[in-house]
Amino acid sequence: MKTQVTDALTAVQEINDSDTVLVGGFGMAGMPVELIDALIEHGAGDLTIVSNNAGNGDTGLAALIAAGRVRKMVCSFPRQADSWHFDSMYRAGKIELELVPQGNLAERMRAAGAGIGAFYCPTGVGTPIAEGRETRVIDGREYVLEYPIHGDVALIRAHVADRLGNLVYRKTARNFGPVMATAAKLTIAQVSRIVEIGELDPEHIVTPSIYVNRLVEVAP
């Protein structure tokens, strides 16, 4: 359905307590800081956040964690030099952690967006990640069964959008955005610029408009 162009606070109004929110970015590259600020203002809590890291410094995802809105983090790399808000919440037992290898995180969201029920993945075989999990040997190689990660909402940052909702990204800030956009019921994209329909080359579009429900323009 038609993509709406709104301000950040309006865009996040439908996020509810206990929602699963996919948050783009690899560190700060591609992190939708202003959308997260709006989510903090909006007030939803008890959230499950799916994101590669568990916040950096004091802004973006780190601020959401510091505000006590996150019940559970699903991520691949929570421990970083500047992940102090997550660290203290985690050590205080106030936040749950599901550690997922980075590629599984991406592929499980891709599966959600692609209508795949589950997939056999070689990653983590023989490691604690696979303990107690269903495995299968296919053509002599062992695989772990992995299930999709669906989001209620995805908050992503892209570079330029057209008014229809088509997105292009910039350099490695592309990271999880295109995958998360496919995996959530409601995708909200923060972009540096919105252009008219027809201004983006159809060959260059990375996320087609079908995956984008709300657009928020935030000058960089």
């Binding site: 038609k2 967006g113 209508g115 229809l164 159809p202 579009i205 408009s209 079908i210």
Partner: protein
Amino acid sequence: MKIDELAQVIAADIPEGAYVNLGIGQPTSIARYLKPDSGVVLHTENGMLGMGEVVPAEEADVDLTNAGKQPVAELPGAAYFHHADSFAMMRGGHLDVCVMGAFQVSADGDLANWHTGAPDAIPAVGGAMDLAVGAKEVWVMMTLFTRTGAPKLVPACTYPLTGKACVTRVYTDVATFLITPGGVRVRETHGLTVEELATRLDVPLLAP
């Protein structure tokens, strides 16, 4: 009701801004009746959103076709993607509506549109099964009766299935049916009464 008229009826029912796949054959003609300001975006499974109408041979670009391999136009706001991404879009439930032709539709919404089951037929399925499981709404556009008068809306399909319990609406030359959890409801008829329809179908009908 002629095919063109039926195409207009279906076009008018497609919600504003919907992402829609029109199957090969008759459903392709629906594109002609979509209002430009409706914001409806057409998907073609060979890898495009924002597909325009079929174009005449002299405007054909061999690199730009619909799923039926006819040359088409590209509209502003279009996007190209590869086949795995295109079918992820379909299978993942992102298309609002797809409209397909059918050999048979059952009262439960089972769809048969890829194989007559004839032993010497060369089977060909294309993307029909992916659309059947993937689109949020699967609509069928067909004549209600075969050339020999046999109904195509049936208690159970006798042809091999394309998908189970996937069809939500059946648009035909003589009536439009809604497949609901409570049964097949006649939404409207074109020239026949519901009673006349009921005598020619083996499927119990709920009145409009």
